[in-house]
């Protein structure tokens, strides 16, 4: 494994008119590292995620990514074709609402297989086998392969979305409140599964969440955001056990009294 960062973020800012979305964010993400971005709603964490994943153009700053050929590319200087290719091969994006990331009227198998077909796999049997393998990895019974996600529970849909993203072995996955809409018991199972997959596959991930328990369970490192600024960052255990900023202390004390 390379000892160079996968992603380098430099002074990233996004303004909406005079309002700040996020301001002067800089960090590096390493291969296999999971970074959690926490904060309450309106803190700018989703804006930041959208900028990082090129779904939104920042006002200033740069993000460079180490491609599979080891060259660093500025994401905002790539053309759309390159960017879209990157997004469906080397990256994944897990939406809070699985309906945003799935094709709801297409079978589970095709949902997982789509990325393979998009990059040129033309063997039906192989695509189907790979889809079946991935369904079992995310604990969806194989006989549901021809069912549409409409007939799936919320937790199953979310697991299907994860499988759909991971099938091309991406190196970086963005997640926006991945456990957001789920019941507590379902959340726990999903988190468990996610943690396993991230470990097994050596994935790097950037996870946006308002839930410090998610950050604790999944991430190595975390950033706390408030009013568009990163006010504290560090190893997850350190930040949660020994928060330095007043705001972080407040967050931790108000939520983690379990």
């Amino acid at each position: 494994m390379s000892d160079l960062p996968l992603l380098k973020v430099n002074n990233l800012s996004k303004f909406y008119g005079s309002r700040i979305g996020c301001k002067d964010v800089s960090f590096e993400l390493w291969p296999g590292e999971v970074l959690a971005i926490v904060g309450e709603s309106g803190s700018g964490k989703t804006t930041l995620l959208n900028c990082l994943s090129t779904r939104l153009l920042p006002s200033t700053g740069s993000v460079t990514y180490r491609m599979r050929d080891e060259t660093y590319r500025d994401l905002y200087h790539m053309n759309e074709a390159e960017r879209r290719f990157l997004m469906r091969t080397d990256w994944g994006f897990v939406h809070q609402n699985p309906a945003d990331g799935l094709r709801m009227s297409v079978s589970a198998g095709a949902n997982v297989g789509e990325r393979l077909m998009a990059v040129g796999d033309r063997n039906y049997g192989r695509i189907r086998q790979t889809a079946a393998d991935w369904l079992s990895r995310v604990e969806i019974a194989e006989d549901r392969i021809d069912d549409q996600p409409r007939s799936f529970s919320g937790g199953m849909r979310q697991r299907l979305q994860i499988a759909r993203n991971l099938v091309t072995s991406p190196r970086l996955v963005f997640m926006d409140e991945p456990t957001g809409g789920l019941d507590v018991s379902v959340q726990a199972r999903l988190l468990d599964l996610l943690r396993g997959l991230v470990n097994d596959l050596g994935l790097a991930a950037i996870v946006v969440t308002h839930d410090l328990a998610v950050a604790r369970l999944l991430s190595h490192r975390m950033m706390v955001m408030k009013d568009g600024h990163v006010i504290e960052q560090g190893l997850t255990d350190r930040v949660l056990d020994d928060p330095r900023e007043r705001y972080t202390q407040l967050l931790v004390s108000s939520i983690l009294q379990v």
């Binding site: 909406y16 008119g17 005079s18 309002r19």
Partner: protein, 367 residues
């Protein structure tokens, strides 16, 4: 012995002959004249001109007669004629501010410079069938308001004076108004092309969309700033002559819809506008057009685009009734080659299904 069906040619000729016969109807009655249509079914003629984008009453009336009163068919006839006409130039924008108004109402002011002028309207008539029209009775001469001014101020100008309403849209200096009947259409569209599409769009479709915005599918909080109908001059600038030439007068209906707008990150609170302009007298169409125009500007004001009336591709791609009727009606053309292919597939799949069922039954029996 099988002989394949032949004689398409004769069948078509005979069908068209029958059509002409039905069009003429009872030969004991006098044939309807173009002049009668223009004079007595004028609003029908207006609609044909508006949606065919060609201002010519005689041709529109002819089309209406030829189509036996089928509006869309008449529009189609006139459009197919229009498309072959050479283009001499582009007229200057008509100045509706100098309209010789025959009707002018505003819902936003009780009274205003130039006054409210009801004109020839169905409004406030009681919709009771009038038996006197069964006969050719005497009709009183109309009374006219003396001394209507030649320039009636537009309501939008009154609001504009205070900066309360967005000004007339501005296009870049070198912008030439688009023409979707001559240039390929591309999305997203400029507003001039969008307005052109709406102006020739189907009255019923636009009416339904406009109605949907009032019922919550893309609300625009509208007020009728002003509706005016009357004669405007069409002028053409002739570069060779160095001055503009008047080509004549046409009757148009204009609607300026004033819409509440709370402002956004980009713009302060201000009234916005939806615009409608159609050939002839058609208030319904002008109003519907202005509501849909405003709804389609959602992006400009940072509004969420969720409702059908706000969806440019949806609205513009489907508002043309000549396109719509052609494609819907083409389903009656023979499709038997494709149907044969589907038939074959369904038979094969059913056969396979039956075979599998039988196999399962056999298997169960064997067990």
């Amino acid at each position: 012995m099988y002989v394949a069906v032949k004689g398409g040619e004769t069948a078509i000729a005979n069908a068209h002959r029958l059509l002409a016969d039905r069009r003429r109807g009872d030969r004991n009655l006098p044939a309807i004249t173009i002049e009668q249509l223009i004079e007595q079914l004028g609003l029908g003629v207006d609609r044909v001109m508006a949606e065919a984008s060609l201002f010519d009453r005689s041709l529109a009336a002819l089309a209406l007669k030829q189509s036996r009163g089928d509006m869309i068919e008449a529009i189609f006839l006139l459009r197919a004629y229009r498309t072959t006409l050479p283009r001499f130039g582009t007229s200057k924008p008509v100045e509706t501010g100098s309209m010789q108004v025959e009707r002018r109402v505003s819902a936003t002011y009780k009274d205003l410079p130039g006054g409210q002028l009801l004109g020839p309207t169905f409004d406030y008539t009681h919709r009771l069938l009038d038996p006197s029209l069964l006969e050719d009775g005497m009709v009183d001469q109309a009374v006219e308001r003396p001394g209507t001014p030649d320039h009636v101020m537009r309501v939008s100008d009154i609001l504009d004076g205070e900066g309360l309403i967005e000004p007339d849209g501005e296009m870049p200096e070198d912008h030439v108004a688009g023409d979707l009947t001559r240039e390929p259409m591309e999305f997203p569209m400029q507003r001039d092309l969008r307005l052109q599409a709406l102006a020739r769009g189907d009255e019923g479709f636009l009416l339904a969309l406009a109605y949907s915005t009032q019922r919550g599918y893309g609300r625009t909080h509208p007020f009728v700033g002003e509706i005016r109908m009357g004669l405007v001059e069409v002028e053409l600038e002739v570069p060779e002559l160095g001055f503009t030439v008047s080509l004549g007068e046409i009757r148009v209906t204009e609607c300026q819809m004033v819409n509440q707008f709370k402002g956004s990150a980009k713009a302060p609170p201000q009234f916005t506008r939806g615009y409608g302009l159609v050939f002839g007298q058609s208030e319904r169409k002008a109003m519907a057009m202005s509501l849909v125009d405003r709804a389609l500007r959602a992006d400009e004001f940072g509004e969420d685009r969720l409702a059908p009336a706000q969806d440019e591709e949806f609205v513009i791609s489907h508002c043309d009734n000549v396109q719509a009727t052609g494609f819907v009606e083409h389903l009656k053309l023979p499709h038997y080659v494709d149907f044969q292919a589907e038939l074959d597939l369904v038979r094969r799949m059913r056969a396979r299904h039956a075979a599998e069922m039988n196999r399962d039954i056999d298997k169960e029996a064997a067990e």
